[in-house]
């Protein structure tokens, strides 16, 4: 087993993993960050997510789904991607108002 330390959203985390574990698997299985699957759509999703969060303060699920409608995810990870953007929006909103 290996011990790795990584910084996720400014938060330092240490995890113990099997050698040759893929980063996406670590993020998904041990960090509970399920917005990425095979990763093919991820760059476009990230660019769009940034744009959504710049234009909408704390976007609702309805807004996120409308705004994401141009992005295609082949492993139907939409639910988790929508949730991830919603969570980021809520977090930004908390930071903005505190």
């Amino acid at each position: 087993m290996l011990t790795v330390t990584l910084t996720i959203n400014d938060d330092e985390q240490t995890h113990t993993i099997e050698p040759r574990t893929v980063l996406a698997d670590l993020l998904r299985d041990q960090c509970g960050l399920t917005g990425t699957h095979l990763g093919f759509c991820t760059p476009g999703m990230l660019v769009m997510a940034r744009d959504i969060l710049q234009r909408h303060r704390k976007p609702s699920e309805k807004i996120i789904r409308h705004e994401l409608s141009g992005q295609v995810c082949r492993c139907t990870g939409y639910a988790n991607i929508v949730a991830a953007i919603g969570a980021a929006g809520a977090e930004l909103d908390r930071e903005g108002s505190s």
């Binding site: 769009m48 744009d51 234009r55 409308h66 705004e67 409608s69 141009g70 992005q71």
Partner: protein, 277 residues
């Protein structure tokens, strides 16, 4: 696929663009946002020898407003209209329409002038500008002219633009206070062109209703029987209204099939319901 080779010119102003359009024996096309044209070039369905990129000409991004009208330059993007970055003459109709055009990446680049110049039968802006009774302002070698969008768009991918002419923008009358609008479209795939779309504008200082149907086989067109019915009836009898819709459909989309007639009927009814809600 990739596009066939073409020459690319980026003129500094409208006068230079008009001059660049005067090329003998060559197929010349203006490029604005490129969200339709570049796809057509890549599919090699629109052969072009020379592409003239007018998307960055400041003159075409001019926006002005008066008490009665708003002028939007042809290179105004859908996103600018969606975001309220330009004045809205339409009591919210245009931002709503913009927000439902394809998806955001396209709206960032696609322009209102490009949409009308291409005159795709299912494009949103020709129908919307007809409903608002806007005028296209056009400049060419012979000078400037203006024409109602209803007359400017003449058929599938067909406008009254002559060789050498450039759309400068659109002069859009402000909807009077109290006017009501409704819009509905049927789009089976997210971001795809609509199978049907309808615009209804009613009321405001006693003006007659305007009803426009888009995504017909040819181009967006007024539905005068429905408009008359709405102007004359504060209370709707749905059987009579459907008869008026059927009468207009026989004229504006005569060759269409039963499915498409149902699509059209549904969008017109939904738009009316929204306008009267």
């Amino acid at each position: 696929m990739k596009s066939a080779p073409f020459d690319y010119i980026r003129p500094k102003g409208v006068a230079e663009a008009i001059a660049a359009l005067q090329q003998e024996n060559k197929t010349v096309s203006l490029l604005a946002g490129g969200q339709s044209l570049l796809v057509l070039l890549s599919l090699r369905v629109a052969p072009v020898d020379v592409l003239i990129d007018i998307g960055r000409i400041d003159e075409l991004k001019t926006v002005s407003e008066s008490a009665t009208h708003v002028f939007l330059g042809a290179a105004t993007t859908h996103a600018m209209i969606e975001d309220g970055a330009v004045p809205d003459p339409s009591l919210g109709l245009m931002p709503r329409v913009a927000s439902a055009i394809a998806y955001r990446a396209i709206r960032n680049h696609g322009t209102i002038g490009g949409s009308v110049a291409l005159a795709d039968p299912a494009a949103d802006w020709p129908a919307c500008l007809m409903a608002l009774d806007a005028q296209a302002v056009v400049r060419g070698p012979a000078g400037e002219r203006r024409q109602r969008v209803t007359d400017f768009v003449q058929g599938m991918y067909t406008t009254s633009l002559e060789q050498g002419e450039v759309i400068l923008g659109f002069e859009i009358p402000r909807l009077p206070r109290g006017a009501r609008w409704g819009v509905a479209k049927v789009t089976r795939k997210s971001g795809a062109f609509a199978s049907s779309m309808a615009f209804v504008i009613e009321g405001g200082e006693g003006a007659p209703a305007r009803v426009i149907l888009g995504a017909t086989a040819s181009h967006a067109q007024p539905m005068p029987a429905v408009a008359d019915y709405l102007s004359q009836h504060a209370k709707i009898d749905e059987t009579e209204l459907r008869a008026a819709i059927a009468a207009d459909l026989d004229v504006v989309d005569p060759e269409t099939d039963a499915y498409q007639r149902r699509n059209h009927t549904a969008t017109v009814l939904r738009a009316i319901r929204e306008a009267r809600a």
